[in-house]
Every structure is written in C-alpha cells, then in structure tokens.
Symmetry: C2
Subunit: 567 residues, 2 copies
Amino acid sequence: MTTIFDAPEEFATTALAGFAALHGRFVRLVKGGVVRSTSVPEGKVAVIVGGGSGHYPAFAGYVGPGLADAAVAGDVFASPSTAAVARVCRKAHRGGGILLGFGNYAGDVLNFGVAAERLRAEGIDVRIVAVTDDVASAPAETVAKRRGVAGDLVIFKIAGAAAEAGLSLDEVERLARHANARTVSFGVAFDGCTLPGSAGPLFIVPRGKMALGLGIHGEPGISEETIVSAGDLATLLTQKLLPERPKDARKVGVILNGLGATKYEELFVLWTAISARLEQAGLEIVAPEAGEFVTSLDMQGCSLTLIFLDDELERYWTAACDTPVLRRGGAIATTPATDILAGEDGPATYPPADAEGQRGGACIARIFTEISVLLHEGEEELGRIDAVAGDGDHGQGMARGAAAALEAAKAASAAGAGTASVLAAAGDAWADRAGGTSGAIWGLLLRSWSNALSDDGAVDGRAVVKGARRALDSVMRLGGAKIGDKTLVDAFSPFVDALEKSFAESGSLATAWGHAASASKLAADATTQLTPKLGRARPLAERSLGHPDAGAVSLAMIAGCVATLLI
Amino acid sequence: MTTIFDAPEEFATTALAGFAALHGRFVRLVKGGVVRSTSVPEGKVAVIVGGGSGHYPAFAGYVGPGLADAAVAGDVFASPSTAAVARVCRKAHRGGGILLGFGNYAGDVLNFGVAAERLRAEGIDVRIVAVTDDVASAPAETVAKRRGVAGDLVIFKIAGAAAEAGLSLDEVERLARHANARTVSFGVAFDGCTLPGSAGPLFIVPRGKMALGLGIHGEPGISEETIVSAGDLATLLTQKLLPERPKDARKVGVILNGLGATKYEELFVLWTAISARLEQAGLEIVAPEAGEFVTSLDMQGCSLTLIFLDDELERYWTAACDTPVLRRGGAIATTPATDILAGEDGPATYPPADAEGQRGGACIARIFTEISVLLHEGEEELGRIDAVAGDGDHGQGMARGAAAALEAAKAASAAGAGTASVLAAAGDAWADRAGGTSGAIWGLLLRSWSNALSDDGAVDGRAVVKGARRALDSVMRLGGAKIGDKTLVDAFSPFVDALEKSFAESGSLATAWGHAASASKLAADATTQLTPKLGRARPLAERSLGHPDAGAVSLAMIAGCVATLLI
C-alpha cells in the first residue's frame, strides 16, 4: 500500500519538494525536477535524466557530482511533459551540450524526443539515449524494443562520470550507448504495488508465486512460477543474463535492486548466492551494489543488472560520484551554485503580430473554447471507450489538456499574439498539463501545426492544410505509430488525406475541413469497433502508447467540432 | 512478506555476510558482527552498538568513521549472545575503553550488561547506554522503562562523533546519556511484518487502520485509529513529541524513519508537513534525515525522532561521518586496517587443574549429559507451557543451550579442565548458542556459579551453596527480575533459600539439594498455575524478559534431575 499522502494527484510533486528540502546539499528544486545545487563548470556536458515518479531514488536521487546534472520527474508512473523536460534542461545546461537519458518507454521517448527537438531549435546540442536493459521485454534480436529498468542507473553513472571527466558530448554519447549495449537486467515480482489513492494494487501476483520479467509499472512478465529459495533465485536470475555476456567480458559491474517492499537483508542474503554464481562463471565482480535504486512504489521483488565491463567502462563505473543514493570513491569538492535562480520563468512573451494576425489568434482561442466544452462533455464517454483496452484516463487527460490549451490561447490572444503563436501556446500548455502520452501527442500535433502558420496576415487555407500534414508527420515520427496501430493516426491520416484532396479541388478550407472531418469519423468508427478484440493481445509498443482507439475518437470529435466553426 | 531466504535460521548470519561482502570499504565480518575495515587510532574510545537483526541498517550499517566502530548482530529480532558481544568488543577495542550502545530491551540489557562485566574483568573499561527514546512505551515519569527505536541512531551518532573527536570515555558516555535524555520518538504501523520462513505476519493491523506506538518487534501500541492524511499524520506525530521539548530547546535534529515497506516518496511527502509543523513550533531544523534507519523487516509504517539540540549536541549531530547508511560533511580520510585478523579465536585453553579438580570437571560434564537428555525430552512440553504467555520457543532454546553446554563441558573436561572451568565453559556455550533472553540468563547463572568454585581439589559443598546464591544474585541484578515477576527467579529463589538452610542443618550437599529441588518444584507449580491469566496484560518488562513461567518449570526440572545424580 502507498499509505501516506494528501491529495493523490499532488503525490509526485510533494514528494519531490520534500526530497529537495532534505537534500539541499545536492539538489535544488525547479518546476518539474531538480538540478544540482553545486556549481558546475561552464562547458561541461550536462547529463540530464528522468522519467515517471514512484521509482525513487530514480531519478532525483541520482543528481550530484559524478552522476547526473539534473532530473526531470513526471507524475507517478507517467512521463514528464515535453515542456518540463525542456525547462529543466535549460536550467542545467552549461554550454557543453546535453545528454538526455531515460528508460525506453513510448511516453518518455516521445516527450524527451520532442524536448530535444525544441532545444536543438534553440541552438543547444542534445543527444538522447533510451536505456534498453530489460531482457524480459524483448529478445536480443530486437534489443531496441527492450524497456529500461535498473540499468538506467548504470548507463547514467557511466555517462555522468565521462561528463565529469570533461569528455566531449560525442564521447559521452558514445560511452552511454556502449554501456547500454553491454548492460542487461532481469527482475521478478512477488507482489503488486498500489498507486497513491487507489483502493487496490495495480496488479496481483498469486501468493507463493513470482512473476518473471514483470515490468516496473506492472507490464506483463514472461511467466509465473512458484517462489524458490534464495540460492535457486540467484541461479534463475544469473541464467537469464549470462547468455548475453559478450565473448570478451571478464569483469562485471552489478546492481542487485530491490523494488520497494523487498528488504535490504533479503538482498544481502541473495547477494551471497549471486556473487558465487558470477564467480563460478569466471567473472570478476567490480564495485557491486545491493539496495533500492529503481523502485516501483511498494512492489515486492528484485532485479539483477549486469554491465559487462571493458577497461574503458570499468574506469567510469568505478569513478568517484556523490549523490543522495550512490557514492563512490573519495570526496568531490563542491561549492554551492550561485546561478541557479537565473533564468526563472518570467511572464510569457510573444512575437509581434499585425491586426489580421491578432484576429487569427483570437479565432484560435474561440476554437479552443468549443473544443474545451466538447471534451468536458465527452470526458466520461471517452474514458469509457478507453477503459476497454487502456486505463480509462483518456477522457480526463483530454479535458484537462483542452482546458489548459484554452487558458493559454486566451492569455496569448489577450497579450496580442498572432495565429501561429496562439496555437503554439495552446499546444505547449496541452502537453504540459494533460499528462501521459496522449497529452504529449496532442501538444506535439498542435505545436507542429502552428509551425506552418504565421503571426502576420489573415489565416491562409494552404498554410492550414500544410500544417495538418506537418502535424501528422511529427506525430508519426516521434510517436512511433503507423496507420493500423489503433492510435489517433488511424483517424488523423485519412483526415489529412481528405483535407489535401478536397482543398486542392475546392480551394475552400471550410469545405475541405468538412470532408476531412467525415473521413476521420469513418476511420475512428472502424477503429472503435475493433476495440473489444484487442485486450491484452496488443503488442507492447501499442500498449505503451496508450489509449489507441479512444484517441482516434477524440480526433474525429475535435475535427467535427472545428468543422462546425468553419462552415 | 520476507520472501528471499534459504534456511530461515541462517537468514541473519547470511544477510550480515552479504552486507559485509558488499561494504568492504567500511566493514569486515567477524563472528557475530562487523568491525570497521579502516584503521582506528590506538587509544580512541570504541563505540560499539548492536541488537537483533531484521532492522537494517541497524546496526551494521552504522559502522564507519564518525559513527560506530563495530556492530554486534543477533538473530532476527533477538539479542546477540553475551559471548558475541564480548567477542566483537575485544576485536574493536583500541585501548581507549568501550561505549556499548543498544536499545532498551530486556534481552539486550542482559547480554550487553553481562558482556560488559566480563570485559571489565579482563581490564577493559566499558560503559553501557541503553537508548530509551520511544515515548509510547512508558510515560515521561518512568523514562528508564522506555524502549529504544530510531533514536538509537541519534545517540550512537553523537557518541561516535565525540569518540572520533578524541574525547575521553567519561565524556563520550556523558554525551551519549545527555543525547538520550533529549531524544524522543513516536511511530505508527499500517501493517505487520513477516519473519523469514513464517507462513503469516507477526501481527496484523486491520486494513485502513494504523497502530499508534507499536514497537519495532510488534510490541503492542497504545491505540488503533483510522489512517489519516499525510498532513494529519504529521500533526499527530509532532503532537506526541513536542510536549517533551526541554524549555531551552530552540533547535531540533530529526529522523523521519521508514519501517520497511513504507517508501521514500511517502516519507518525503510526510516531511513537507512535518517540517512545517516543527517550524510553526518555533524550532529550527538541523540536518534532518528521512529514510530507512531502523526497520522492522517489511513492516509498513514510520516513526519520527527528535533530538532537542543544545550547542554541544549540535556540534556532534552535524559532525562528519561516513557509513553505509549515513554520511555527513566532507570526506574522512581512511586507510585499510591491517590488524583486524589479529586476535582471531584460537582453540580454547583452560587453567591447569589437579587430579581432584579434573574429576570434578568430569562430574560436571556427566551432569550436563543428563540435563541435555532431560531437556531434549522435555522440549515439546516446555514449548507448550511457554506458548501460553510467550512465543513458544523456550523448549527449543533450552534444548539447544543444554546440548551446546554439554559439548563444551565434554571438550573442556577432555582437555583436562577443572570443576570451575568446565562449568564456566558450559555456561558460555549455553549463552552463545541457546539464543534469546533465557539463553543469556542460563549462561549467566552457570558462569556466576562457577566463579564460586575452584579448579583444584574435590568439589566443596559450601562452595556449591555459595555459588547458588551468587548465581541467583547475578540473575536478579542483570536480568532485572524480582520474586513474583513470573520468571525462573520464582523457582530459583526458594531453591537457594532451601539449599542454604538445609546444608547448614545437614552439612550434606545431596540432602540439601534434594530439599531445594522440592522447594523449586513447588514454587514452579504455583507459578505455572497462574499462567493462563497473564495473557497480554503482563507489564512490558516481563513480556520482554520472555517465558517467565516456563523458565521456572525448567529450573525446577533441572534441579530435580541434578538431585537424582547427587543422591
């Protein structure tokens, strides 16, 4: 049980604030994350990590000299928003470029990926490394599909040490990828975990059983077996990992990770058996750690992570670091940072716009008024549709995102912003406040669309059509969804096709939009009818992407709503 | 659930070995505990701590520069034996005397107290401080009856810092007592914990409820209430402690402690509310910690510990330390110790004895043969008696202790030891192997008795009678039990009275022993008949002392058995 909380929706942010208050020696709280409270040399590569909350010490506990420069924290088990990632990155960047590290989950890939694009547009060199250590989540042939679990810490440790040593961004990225290629994990769960405010656990492992390969958010494992002795568990865990040992590997760095309710003394007992197995396999154990490093609230269970070291990796694996959760070697001299408060968020500013552009901006704000009403009214129904194959929070997320977008659009319009800027502000607010993958997708969609528009002059139908194609391309590229994956792309793609075709024929945006809205509705209906058959059989990528069919319905609803405004 | 283990009875020792293997930078494993692996200056006061296992990081995780020099670890939730305490102390002593720190539980008071007496007899200056921070366990008027919980770490930290600063043993002891007088804790439990190998939890807290003031071994709390929000929990915890604030206190050191399954993020959420309450009370918070410091296996819950600082305490509370679990300030330069392996246990040696003394030693060994058979046969029945008011392991402990005593007595006798030495060896082995409070009591009883005897000449009846009185005095003084407390004293005291009286009248040890055995049997029977009425109503001291009536029965059985050998 997660038992101690006030408002469940504030659990993650309050926990982060409490952590930062206790660990002021290492970190300072910023909106959406923490950055080092100690001074960092100008030009040093910034290693910035993050992901959902509920995994402490991942990721805020990794911040300190020799490891991460900052950590971004999403809601419990939910990716941080694109805006949060970008904001924390801006605060931690010291001119040497940024390595963004996170576990390989669709929501994180999307939000960190889009944030990286935004930062690159601002002139910051950003590289991304999605950690893929969990061997249970995909076979060795499709390693890029694997999830990131406790290997996160290993890869971030290597990258952090390389950055601290003054290596270039190219080198830090190369080492992080090299470490990721030689790091593997396997976990078992004995019992589920409970989200703050939930009445029951997220999942259940039958008493006396253990779920092999279960993910840190309760993603299905590969099998359920009877709980075995510590000695047999050590055999099982090492046997899952040793087949991935590179031929040249003679040394191994190890993390034996507790998932939350499994205690340190149990890990120590298990360690005696695991170390014996690794030594039997002819491996020299280097700087092993046993404890809680990537937890899953109060989940019972543990995971074993191995990094097969070469000389280069060993140097950075054993290098000094000093963070709330991991400390290596001697002290690292630090001085408090003086410049963290610089660059705090001031009031938003917008590029100048002419009168026609400002009218376009006001029109965008009106459109969001209607969208917000529509999604507020449709919240329950969208939740119901989503609950068939997802976790039922799609309606809530869409309503919250639309409300935030409306607020931002109104504020931008009131401040005299033009069409493109109002739409961009709406998209950013949607991404920042809606949460989850669909929030990020909608934010990206609107922001990409706005890039085709202008702040000056009347709204141009051709630009709107061009923006639709850009938005679709962005969503497909960064969201990783194709047509037929049961996502909003299934409705958005026919929408864009019909919009382009009809606009080319009619030259009228209103006419074209009407046709496009019909096309998206037909596609959404077809998708929705498939929903009950999907169940747990959907492949991992789709499941992680969340709410596929409800997303298509949402898109068709919004397209239809906007059509009524244009006619 | 405690899920990961091999043989449950080896859980504590295997966990300690695994811990020591992982934390070789700080500790080295010795039999029964760990000592610092880094060199310690000659003449420094040694701060040595300990208690039962199942509380990691208490106590092995406290060992390192600026904190403890060594930790002694008993079985899960059981005091370490007298022999283990003495052994670890001898290894860690550097000529400057020893401060022994432990929580105030009858078993620990006894075993650490007896070990201190043994070490003093060897010329080592030893002081003992039993931590009494748990306000729920007794009112402020009887503070000496309070249990030790997470305040352990606070008091040990102060003492460790004082010792590291080079203070004398007098000063280290004074500061530890001063810290203990200004340290208070209160805890709540949301759910029980499960011992390794047990099918069910040690105790249950009803779903949705919290047990206020529950002890870290499941000792009953003061009430059960409905679980409240984090804000209200902060109010509850601080309101229990602030009334004990000394008038002069303006600053407070804090430990917010997780009991095992309550997660760090919950503690961070709670911390935001607790820190606000403390500041509202006009207290300045100094170097607070939130995390797992004294756990109770996988118990759900937390405790709040406050130390009301003055200038002197603040200096040592904030002083540098570097241990597996707590680190303060800058690095402390260390070098690996070179002398730890010196003084390993060699084969036992005994003082020389004459032929009559050796015959006396052989007689003692024969007596233990009979006692061992008797207790092996009586094991189940003694367990049954004990289960009425205790935890039912008395028979097991007595059988294991007697078997160990027999083995030691035979070995000593075979090596030519005399009466006193054989009995002393038997007592030490009993204490070391039986476990728990009754093991310590029996070891103390036999060891004290042996001190009245000699290794030379025939066994002297007067010396045996004198030894009985010594044994009774030791048990009452160090065990803290009086007549009527439903312990073995209720049978042993009439035994000694009758032995003295009858020996004075008859001059025959056999006759006197026969009368004494009858007197102890009558007393034991009277005690036993009261058992079912005791239940949970027995006061804390008795409960902690364990097995009261079964102990009286054991003593009477053994007295009767020996009587048959003497007649």
